[in-house]
Structures are given as C-alpha cells and as structure tokens.
Amino acid sequence: MLTVLIGFASGIISGMGIGGGTLLIPALVFIVGTKQQIAQSINLLVFIPSASAALFVHARKHNIEKGLLFKLAVTGCAGAVIGSLAAVNLDSGILKKIFGTFLFIMGIYEISSKSREKNKKTGKEGCR
C-alpha cells in the first residue's frame, strides 16, 4: 500500500512536469528500502506506459518535432546502452552516491529555475 502511495505521489508530480522520477527513486530507496538499481528500473518501466499515453495525445496535436526526434534518438539510444550497462555493473552503494550528486544538481536547478508560467496549460506530461 505504501508503494502504491509513493507511485501516486510521483504520478502527481510528473503530471506537473516536475521530475517525478528523480523523487520516486530516492523515495523507494529510503522508505521502501529498495536497492538503487531496482528503484531505477522501476522508474524506467513505469515511464513507458505513461509516456506512450502522453505521446498518443501529443502526436495527434502535432507537437512532436519528428526530424529532430530521429536525430536525437539515434545517439540517445547509444548513450542509453552505455549508461545502462554502467548502472547494472556498478556497486549499488557507489551508484547511490553518484545519483545523489546528480539529484543535488537537479534540486539546485529546480529551485533556481525562472517562472515557466506558459508551461501550465500545455506541455506537462511527465518528463522523468
């Protein structure tokens, strides 16, 4: 039940376009006691159905820059293979520390980011 509640909270946050995943992972690690890598895989898997639903809506509104999508996705996938292989092979204690450093930078970015009012009514679907 606790896990469902954590998912609920992260769903709300990502629906607002504030990195839900970056908070879901530490929540799982600290509250549920999940291993760092497992928490990360949960975030990746949960993203897939929600992103598919969001994309369906965006595609119908022609919001996707298709030319750019293919160019970015090619090198993006290469990066994903390297990044994931690193994640599954790293010691989870070390990965947790590296993740913490990344989270710290993201936190500073969220606090210092300027008002993005125009985001309110348009693109909001979870960017994790």
Binding site: I12, N43, L72, G79, A86, F102
Partner: protein, 119 residues
C-alpha cells in the same frame, strides 16, 4: 555551421541517453532545457519531443536492466498503479496549484535526499 549543429544534436541526444540509462531518470530534465534554450524549440513542443525521445531510450535501458536481473515486477506494478492514478489526479488539479512554488519545495526535497544519499 551545419556540421556544428549536427554535432550539437548528436551530443545532446547522447547525453540524455547516457544520463537516463545510468540514473534511470533525468533524461527529460536534460532534454527539455536543451531543446528550448539551445535549439529554440517552443516549450510544449520541447516537452512532447523529449518524451518521444526518452521512450525508446527507456525501452532500451529497461531491456538491459531486465537482462541483468535488476527488476522487481511486483513492486513495479504497485508503483505503476499508483502512478497512473496520481497522473490523472495531477492533471485535474494542475491549474489550481502554484507550480512554481511546488517546484521550489520539491527542489528542496531533492537536495535533502541528495545529501542523505551521498553521506
């Protein structure tokens, strides 16, 4: 100049994939500002395009995590169920909440969690 743009695009994609793979999150946090500030894409289009890029990236990453047996399907299903409900709820209340204040509050949570993770 054109080559330079190609390189820039390639590097942004690679960075987003790398971060999203190693941390299981954060690809969007990199892509959206890059698309908006470096490539001049409108905000809502940047969000939509970012999701369309992170989807294949997440599929590949999930596959690798799965192959290395770092998954917990029952836990994932519980989080997913909560997350779908949360996203629906969130989209209803979206226009009634002060997003920028929340952004700062969550930013502080991130910093606190970050400190606990490192030390």
């Amino acid at each position: 100049m054109k080559n330079k743009n190609h390189l820039k695009t390639a590097l942004i994609g690679f960075a987003a994939g790398l971060v999203n793979g190693i941390f299981g999150s954060g690809g969007g946090t990199i892509l959206v500002p890059c698309l908006v500030f470096l490539m001049g894409i409108e905000d809502h289009k940047a969000h939509a395009t970012a999701i369309s890029i992170i989807l294949p990236i997440s599929l590949i990453s999930s596959f690798i995590y799965f192959r290395y047996d770092v998954t917990d399907l029952s836990l994932t299903l519980k989080v997913a169920a909560g997350s779908v409900l949360g996203a629906l709820f969130g989209s209803f209340v979206l226009n009634w909440v002060p997003i920028n204040t929340l952004r700062k509050i969550f930013g502080m949570f991130m910093i606190l969690a970050a400190i606990r993770m490192v030390f």
